[in-house]
Every structure is written in structure tokens, then in C-alpha cells.
């Protein structure tokens, strides 16, 4: 199930290691996640629900949900989708709530390591990378932390070329942009990146901002600075239908992670729900990975994503069924079939229009919601803005939230594109350095240029909607 040939990607795998799944040895490669290695070995059930004992598989595959929790070396609740394999690791399926081992020695948290900088950036995706790069260029000492073992956020699975202008990386593949930005970041002596490090809280301590983080689930680190930029991205949405928790029902991004980042074939036959850009792009990427896409179903009467993405998959024979929805997934321990139906004018399934697709994967590409947990906990004012994908932090034109010194950028500020995330990151990075008195006034021009670029990007019919939402997110109070 591991991919070797691909039209645009080359998979370089690390040293071969052996892991033990429920006592059985399995081959894996260094640099792979536990869940990915298990998937490659054909294991789709990772745990069972606490009450109904329902099988569960992956869902988001980027560490944001609880679908992949397993018992690793006796420790329960390990997010196996973002935990690297290690030689000799013992992995067990988790059955509901699992107990912590009684004999294990807890981590020593009382002497936490302290890292002191000017600006702390949480999230190493396009927004966080740009924020860190620009804050350091403006003279600030920066630390960037990310839960994953690699930088780039969701760029690392974007094999398609970006839209926009060439100075904003248009015409360059997302995977390549991740490489370019990482290289840029590594060039700066002012930035240190902490990977496999999860931020768990933001606090004010006197004049300082304190970001508490846990590295590799073992080591507590206190990051102290005067400003924090939150660029934590977004989380895949789920929609209600029968058996939507069956292994084989995955967020679109999870499938991209499996096949594009780790070179693991997600399945043989796929049904995609949602004809927005993510669903359409995913269909194309699946075909590139040699997977059959049976159909894309879309509840709206039209393709929601860019027409050109739709045309690309239609000419390779993928039907797009607009005004259709998924009714249920069927299968015993994993998806074996998907049943869809046509919708009437009132969005209700029309009886007698059911169609069954023999598929082993159902991909949900039904939108994202901003990851705002840290901002919420830190006391930033939160507002529901439908156009931005859900609850977002209120911010000003410089991306500063209602808590002085906490900035936001990218999808965690509102669901948009990587191009706009990069521009917002640039603004937030420079703005934070300006607010701290580190950058000089000349940097204001850079912010203004990025703002003009954002306005231009959002001026078309696709961006107007977001622009409306941003107006609402700029208003404090109510």
C-alpha cells in the first residue's frame, strides 16, 4: 500500500524499523507516523468508542481530533497520527477510556526549561512561517513551535500549483513552497523552531506572555516573550450521516496527508463529499496516486470550488453529482459502500434516487473551521462569522486580537487560502515587531503592501465573501 511512483512527488523513506501492533511485528520506516505505518500495513481500526464499542479509524490525521488515539508503550491517548514510529515500539488498540500505567514514572515537570524570546509563534504552517520570517527580519528574536515533526503545516501535502501572482508563489506547488519557506526560516539566526511541541496554554505573567508547551508528550517547556502570534490553522468539518464514524470515513486532508506526505495509498475506490476546492483538488490527487474516484457529491446546485479544478477531474472521467448528498456509509469494521441520494429544492433527499457506490473510502471535503482554542483560552474576544468558517478572534488591521500582544494569522483567523495565510502571517509578524518597538517605522510600508495584496486577492467574486466576513471580525464588542 506504499506508493513508489508518482507524477509529481518523490518519496524518500527513512531507515527500516520494526514496530509491534498487538504483538505482531510490522515493518515501518523512520519518519513515518504510527498511524501511517499501520495504515500501510492494512490496519484501519485504531480504537473502539467508550460506550458502543464502535470501531474508529483516522479522521483528521494532523493531530487535531481524537480519532487515532492508541496505547503506545503502555501509555494511552497517544495521537498516533502525529507520533513518529520508533524501533521496537509497542502499539495497542485503545478500548474506550484507557487507564494510565500505574508503575510508570511521571515526567519531571517542576524544573521546566525556559525559553525567552521577543515573539512566540504557534504553528509552523504558511502563516506561522511567514510571521516568524518577517518578525525576525524586522529584528525580533523569535521562537516557532509546532506539533508536527516537520514544518510547512498543510503545505506539505499540497501537490497542486498555487493561484495568485508569481511574487506570491503562484505557479509553485505547495510542497515546494513549504521547502522554500523552511529554508528561509533556517537562514535566520534569530529564529529557533521547536517541533513535536504542542502549545497548551497562553498566560500573562507581569509584562511577559507565557506559552506553556509539551514536547514529545514528555517535556514541559515555558516559552516567554512579549508577543504571541497564533497561527494554529483549522480543523476538518464533519457532517451527520449514518455510520459517519466508520473507519474509512476520513477528512479530505487526512487522505492528502496519507498519500502525499507519507506515500501511503488511502484505498482503492473513493467517494468524495463536497465539490469545493478541497474536494476537487483531492479527486485529482487521488487519480495521480492511482486511486479510482467513483464520484464527487455536492449538496449545492453547483460546483463550489474553482471551475478549472472541476474541469480537470471531469475530463479524467470523474462524475460530479450536484444536488446530491451522502445518506449513509455501510460496512462492518470499515467502509464497504456509500449510499447517496439526490436532493430536492428544500435540501431533502428524494426517495427512490438512492445510488450505491462500492467504495472503501469516503472523503469528507465539507469545509474547515478555524482552530481558536488557544485564543479562546487566552481571553481574546471571539465572534461567530459565518463567512470565515465559524468562530474567530476579533482583530484589527494588524492582526492583533483584543488581548494586547496576541496576534492571529492564517486559517485560525478565518478559513481562506494559503496565499492569504502567508500575507496575514507577514502582517502579523511585522506588526508584532513594531508593537514591541523592535522594528522601525519603515516596516509599516511592508504591512501596507501586504494589505494591498490581500485586498487585491479578495476583490474577485470568490474573495468578496471572505472580505465581508473580515469586516465583521474587525468589529470589537456587541
Amino acid at each position: 500500500m506504499r506508493l513508489n511512483e508518482h507524477p509529481v512527488l518523490r518519496f524518500e523513506r527513512g531507515r527500516e524499523v520494526t514496530i509491534y501492533f498487538e504483538g505482531k511485528p510490522l515493518k515501518a520506516y523512520e519518519g513515518e507516523m504510527i498511524a501511517t505505518a499501520l495504515y500501510a500495513a492494512g490496519i484501519r481500526v485504531l480504537n473502539y468508542s467508550p460506550n458502543e464499542k464502535r470501531p474508529r479509524g483516522l479522521f483528521c490525521a494532523i493531530g487535531k481530533c481524537s480519532s487515532c488515539l492508541m496505547v503506545v508503550n503502555g501509555i494511552p491517548n497517544v495521537r498516533t497520527c502525529i507520533t513518529l514510529v520508533e524501533d521496537g515500539m509497542r502499539i495497542e488498540r485503545q478500548h474506550g477510556r484507557s487507564r494510565l500505567p500505574t508503575k510508570a514514572k511521571p515526567p519531571e515537570f517542576k524544573d521546566a526549561k525556559v525559553v525567552r524570546v521577543d515573539i512566540i509563534v504557534v504553528g509552523g504552517g504558511p502563516a506561522g512561517l511567514m510571521a516568524a520570517i518577517h518578525a525576525s527580519r524586522a529584528g525580533a528574536k523569535v521562537v516557532l513551535i509546532d506539533e508536527n515533526h516537520m514544518l510547512g503545516g498543510q503545505l506539505v501535502k499540497q501537490t497542486h500549483k498555487f493561484f495568485g501572482k508569481r511574487e506570491q508563489f503562484a505557479g509553485v506547488r505547495g510542497v515546494e513552497i513549504a521547502r522554500i519557506l523552511e529554508e528561509e526560516l533556517r537562514k535566520s539566526e534569530n529564529v529557533k523552531a521547536f517541533l513535536e511541541t504542542s502549545a497548551v496554554g497562553i498566560f500573562q505573567e507581569g509584562e511577559e506572555k507565557l506559552v506553556l508547551a509539551v514536547r514529545k508528550e514528555r517535556e514541559l517547556i515555558e516559552f516567554r516573550g512579549r508577543a504571541v502570534i497564533v497561527a494554529t490553522g483549522a480543523m476538518e468539518r464533519m457532517i451527520p450521516f449514518e455510520n459517519n464514524d466508520l473507519p474509512g470515513v476520513y477528512g479530505a486532508g487526512a487522505i492528502q496527508t496519507l498519500m502525499n506526505t507519507y506515500g501511503v495509498k488511502p484505498g482503492d475506490r473513493v467517494l468524495i463529499v463536497g465539490a469545493g476546492n478541497v474536494g476537487l483538488i483531492l479527486a485529482y490527487q487521488l487519480i495521480q496516486a492511482g486511486v479510482e474516484v467513483k464520484a464527487i457529491v455536492e449538496a449545492m446546485p453547483k460546483v463550489g470550488g474553482y471551475f478549472v479544478h472541476a474541469a480537470k477531474v471531469r475530463r479524467l472521467g470523474v462524475p460530479i453529482l450536484t444536488r446530491h448528498t451522502i445518506l449513509r456509509a455501510e460496512g462492518k469494521e470499515k467502509v464497504e459502500r456509500a449510499v447517496v441520494a439526490q436532493l430536492d429544492e428544500n435540501w431533502r433527499p428524494i426517495p427512490g434516487t438512492e445510488k450505491t457506490f462500492e467504495v472503501d473510502v469516503i472523503a469528507l471535503a465539507v469545509g474547515l473551521r478555524p482552530s481558536i482554542e488557544l485564543l479562546h483560552q487566552a481571553g481574546c474576544q471571539i465572534k461567530y462569522v459565518r463567512e470565515l468558517g465559524g468562530h474567530v478572534a476579533v482583530r484589527d488591521e494588524w492582526m492583533e486580537t483584543t488581548v494586547r500582544g496576541i496576534f492571529v494569522a492564517g486559517d485560525s483567523a478565518g478559513i481562506e487560502e494559503a496565499t492569504t495565510a502567508m500575507l496575514e502571517g507577514k502582517i502579523a509578524g511585522i506588526a508584532a515587531a513594531l508593537r514591541l518597538g523592535i522594528a522601525d517605522e519603515s516596516w509599516v510600508d511592508e504591512i501596507e503592501k501586504a494589505q494591498r495584496d490581500l485586498d487585491e486577492f479578495r476583490s474577485g467574486p470568490f474573495g468578496r465573501h471572505v472580505a465581508e466576513g473580515i469586516k465583521k471580525a474587525l468589529v470589537v464588542g456587541e
Binding site: P7, F163, G171, A275, K302, V303, E456
Partner: protein, 168 residues
């Protein structure tokens, strides 16, 4: 809501729909040399085609405007086909009773020059066979996308938009 263009309901555009949005190159122009035709009917924020065009043949005042090709200025160099992130640019050239279509091909296997391939229309249906006469591999393209030129019967010039490589 009730004014949804048919191509957005289906996900593909017919030549009639396309040429109601952009002008169709004249028969004379199509015979002269390859000409770039963008199948990009939506205002999306994107401009690499305009930025790469060596003769300034693509008119697009802002990135959100449609790319309108000045067919007289277009020299048929194919850079727009290579760079387009939407894989929406094609070139067409009438030669005798055949048409040569330049198209992106980001799938494996990449066909070889001289190879016979199955021709697919805009909905992926096989509509005949054609011969690949040029292959620009990914490494040699300007936009990281391999492109191919396929010779097809002239009556299929505005139908064929992809190929399938079938090897035993």
C-alpha cells in the same frame, strides 16, 4: 441562485459556452501556428499566464479578470500551458485534416513521442485515438507541469482535452 451557468452545474464547459465568453480563434489563425486558448471562464485571483507570456498577449487588468488572449500577438510558445496552476490552457493548431492539441499531462505514465493514446473528451469519454507528437517532460517545462502535443482528427479539435495512455 437561478442564474447558475450550466458549466458550473456539470463541472465541464462546452465549446459553445466557452466561445460565448471568449472569442474563438479564426480558422486562418488556427492554420497559421499553434494558438493558446484559455478554458478559464471564472474570475479567480490568478495571473501567472499573463506574467509569463513573452509577447504580452494575455490581457488581464487585475488577477481577478479573465485571461483574454490576443490571438495575433500569441506566438504559440506554450509557456501559459506549462505554468497555468488550473491546467486550463490549451493550444490548438490545424494542420491539414488534423488538429494538434497541446495539453498538460500530470499523470503517469507520461506518453512517449510517437505513442498512440486514447483521446478523452471533457467528460473523460474515449472519443478516438491520436498520436503524441511532442512531449515536454516536467523537468524541462517552465511551470513544473509536463505537456504533450497530440494529433487528433480535426473534427475533434474542440472536444479532446485529455489522453489516456494504455500499455499492455
Amino acid at each position: 441562485m437561478n442564474e447558475i451557468p450550466a458549466y458550473l452545474q456539470r463541472g465541464y464547459i462546452t465549446p459553445e459556452e466557452l466561445f460565448s465568453i471568449i472569442p474563438k480563434p479564426s480558422e486562418e489563425r488556427l492554420r497559421k501556428r499553434p494558438v493558446a486558448v484559455p478554458e478559464c471562464p471564472q474570475e479567480i485571483p490568478c495571473a501567472p499566464c499573463r506574467e509569463i507570456c513573452p509577447t504580452g498577449a494575455i490581457n488581464m487588468p487585475t488577477p481577478n479578470d479573465l485571461p483574454i488572449v490576443d490571438y495575433d500577438k500569441c506566438i504559440g510558445c506554450s509557456l501559459c500551458v506549462q505554468i497555468c496552476p488550473g491546467l486550463a490552457f490549451f493550444m490548438v493548431h490545424y494542420v491539414g485534416d488534423k488538429a494538434r492539441i497541446t495539453m498538460p499531462h500530470e499523470l503517469l505514465p507520461v506518453p512517449e513521442k510517437g505513442e498512440e493514446v486514447v483521446l478523452l473528451n471533457r467528460v473523460g469519454e474515449p472519443v478516438g485515438k491520436g498520436k503524441v507528437i511532442t512531449v515536454v517532460p516536467r523537468e524541462k517545462s517552465k511551470g513544473d507541469t509536463p505537456i504533450i502535443v497530440v494529433e487528433v482528427p480535426i473534427e475533434l479539435a474542440w472536444d479532446v482535452r485529455a489522453v489516456k495512455v494504455v500499455r499492455e
